[in-house]
């Protein structure tokens, strides 16, 4: 495989968890609920997907279990922020801590391990990575991840539900006056966001065939940055995800050259995020009702 193709393939693979998480995040944020939760959703999804696959021996059951795990965490966030009007940032941070704590607790409980689950059935079993497409199709979650944001874009801009999501995120009172249930739209959006982000986590654990404590490793925050970078638009967020993944690929490739201290190479994606935030989207306007009741 040529260098360019290898770069592209790696970028796409790295992007998949970001794309899933950003797809979920865009939905929730556009409905007015802040998505600081993506990291926790991913971790929970990774763990429950592993668990599903472990007990069934079938990775697709793992995928479903991952979705279920994400839905549950999403609903907890939704109940806290919508029903009980908890501060969304705070609830998000709590969800993240909760996901860390619960996955650790049950990892210990079920597998008597503080780090890793046993190996479970996953997706990337084959050997050939000679061709870009074949390599990417190995894991069915990769093509799914690549279409996640386009599907969300369609949902958002073409369907009644999407119109309501956008209305509710901009001006909930206006939506309420025409009989749209703000709470219901948000419940659905946040639950979906949990499920989608959890798929990103499921990708991580099923691709690795095991769960590792803390394996989401900050990817949820990068996905959130991608959403902001993409100005809350699904397609632009997708581009931002690819951009961040490319930065990471670049980081990996640059490290191999060993030209600069690895600490500085490690900074690249984060510094790029800040630069992007400052340069490109400094004044990006979030959905008007984001973070409000």
């Amino acid at each position: 495989m040529s260098i360019a193709l290898a770069f592209l393939a790696q970028t796409l693979r790295i992007a998949v968890p970001y794309l899933f998480a950003a797809a979920g995040g865009v939905l929730a944020e556009r409905s007015g609920i802040i998505s600081l939760t993506l990291e926790g959703f991913m971790l929970g999804g990774a763990f429950s997907a592993m668990l599903g696959s472990y007990y069934s021996g079938n990775p697709w059951v793992g995928v479903l279990a991952g979705i279920a795990g994400g839905l549950v965490l999403g609903l907890v966030h939704a109940v806290a922020t919508i029903r009980y009007k908890a501060d969304q940032v705070v609830s998000g941070i709590a969800i993240n801590l909760l996901a860390v704590g619960l996955t650790r607790y049950f990892l210990k409980l079920v597998f008597d391990s503080s780090s890793n689950s046993p190996r479970v059935a996953g997706f990337s079993a084959g050997t050939s990575t000679t061709a870009l497409v074949a390599g990417l199709l190995h894991n069915p979650l990769i093509p799914l991840g690549l279409v996640a944001l386009p599907v969300v874009a369609w949902l958002m801009y073409r369907t009644p539900f999407g119109l309501r999501v956008r209305a509710v995120g901009e001006h909930p009172e206006a939506a309420a006056t025409v009989g749209v249930s703000v709470a219901r739209v948000r419940y659905i959006a946040v639950a979906l966001s949990g499920a989608l982000a959890a798929l990103g986590g499921a990708y991580l654990s099923l691709d690795q065939h095991q769960f590792t404590d803390g394996m989401s490793a900050g990817r949820g925050f990068i996905a959130l940055a991608a959403i902001i970078f993409g100005r809350w638009d699904p397609m632009r967020a997708a581009l931002a995800c690819l951009f961040f993944a490319a930065a990471e690929t670049l980081q990996i490739q640059l490290q191999a050259m060993q030209a600069i201290p690895s600490q500085f190479v490690q900074m690249i994606p984060y510094v790029l995020t800040i630069v992007a935030l400052v340069g490109v989207v400094g004044r990006a306007v979030p959905p008007a009702a984001l973070g409000r009741e």
Partner: protein
């Protein structure tokens, strides 16, 4: 005195305390090695072993202290991170024996080693020697001028693995290059298998056929990549063959289990003594796996060559660097 999460030592039993490093049980390498050593001592020596997994920061010292206060016969800290806490506690509890796996020796201003307290055994592994051997092995088997290394957190302890590995590669193949990459600069770097896999895939794609990892759980991603691309990886600390059967060329094993068992046995036999104890190839403290599982992957000629190098190192004919 601290409340006992650990039942008090009975006084006549062989009560042993082991405190794990971050990663804890289930890391499939280092801590698990210590755990196995402890378990074996329970079966074979009738020891009662109490394990503690601290969090970060002051919890490490607290864990050690808890065990010392409960009159364990021997308290073992697993990981260089325990060095200072062990030193302080050994001074404070002169009647308790202590042991530190990967204990980091201090140098005084003149550059001489400061000896640890007499009741503290500083257990040091010569990872660079084992790494040297797997480096040579990798270069001989690899059929490529490029060899790979994936480290976890970018810190001196891991540099030791890298340095030995490089030297080993270049010893048998002076014009080979080693691509060395690290997963990060925080402790998270030891538990990011997703990153490990991508690092490995990029190395394999650039023509590397064998990768040696020293990266904790991150390395599990390296094995995944080896499986997926049909290439080879080298495990670390413990025999990691089962992580990717057929794709684990060998593992650079650190005999943490044997050494832990050994120290417990010495305490039982009354032969325990403090001081620096180095475990290199000569002491069988480090080595590489060559058994029924991976024999097929390693030609006899290569095995013979590596064994010769091993002898050379033990005899002091081959010098192995421990820093980059």
């Amino acid at each position: 005195h601290p409340a006992p999460p650990v039942p008090a030592a009975s006084g006549n039993g062989l009560d042993i305390g082991i405190v794990f490093d971050v990663g804890g049980r289930g890391d499939k390498s280092f801590n698990d090695g210590a755990y196995r050593g402890g378990e074996r001592a329970e079966h074979e020596l009738g020891a009662r072993v109490h394990f503690i997994e601290p969090g970060e920061g002051s919890d490490r010292e607290a864990g050690l202290r808890l065990l010392a206060a409960e009159h364990m016969k021997l308290v073992i800290g697993v990981g260089f991170i325990f060095t200072d806490d062990l030193t302080a506690l050994a001074n404070e509890y002169p009647n308790t024996e202590f042991a530190g796996v990967d204990y980091a020796l201090k140098l005084d201003s003149a550059g001489n080693v400061v000896p640890p307290p007499p009741n503290l055994a500083a257990l040091k592994f010569r990872e660079e020697q084992g790494s040297f051997l797997v480096g040579a092995l990798a270069a001989l088997v690899g059929k490529s001028k490029k060899l790979g290394f994936v480290g976890g957190m970018d810190i001196p302890l891991i540099h030791k693995f890298e340095a030995g590995y490089r030297a080993g590669v270049n010893y048998v193949c002076p014009d080979c290059t080693v691509i060395a990459q690290y997963a990060g600069v925080t402790p998270e770097a030891f538990r990011n298998p997703g990153r490990g896999k991508e690092l490995a895939l990029s190395q394999y794609q650039s023509g590397v056929n064998v990768i040696f990892h020293a990266s904790g759980s991150t390395g599990l991603g390296v094995f995944e990549a080896a499986r997926q691309t049909g290439t080879l990886a080298i495990g670390v600390d413990a025999d990691q063959y089962s992580e990717a059967p057929g794709h684990v060329l060998t593992s650079m094993v650190k005999g943490v289990d044997a050494v832990v068992f050994d120290q417990i046995k010495k305490v039982r036999d009354g032969t325990f003594h403090g001081g620096v104890q180095e475990y290199g190839l000569a002491e069988n403290g480090v080595g590489y796996i060559y058994d029924a599982h991976n024999r097929a992957l390693i030609p006899d000629s290569v095995h013979a060559r590596v064994e010769a190098i091993r002898a050379g190192i033990i005899a002091g004919r081959i010098a192995v660097p421990s820093t980059r």
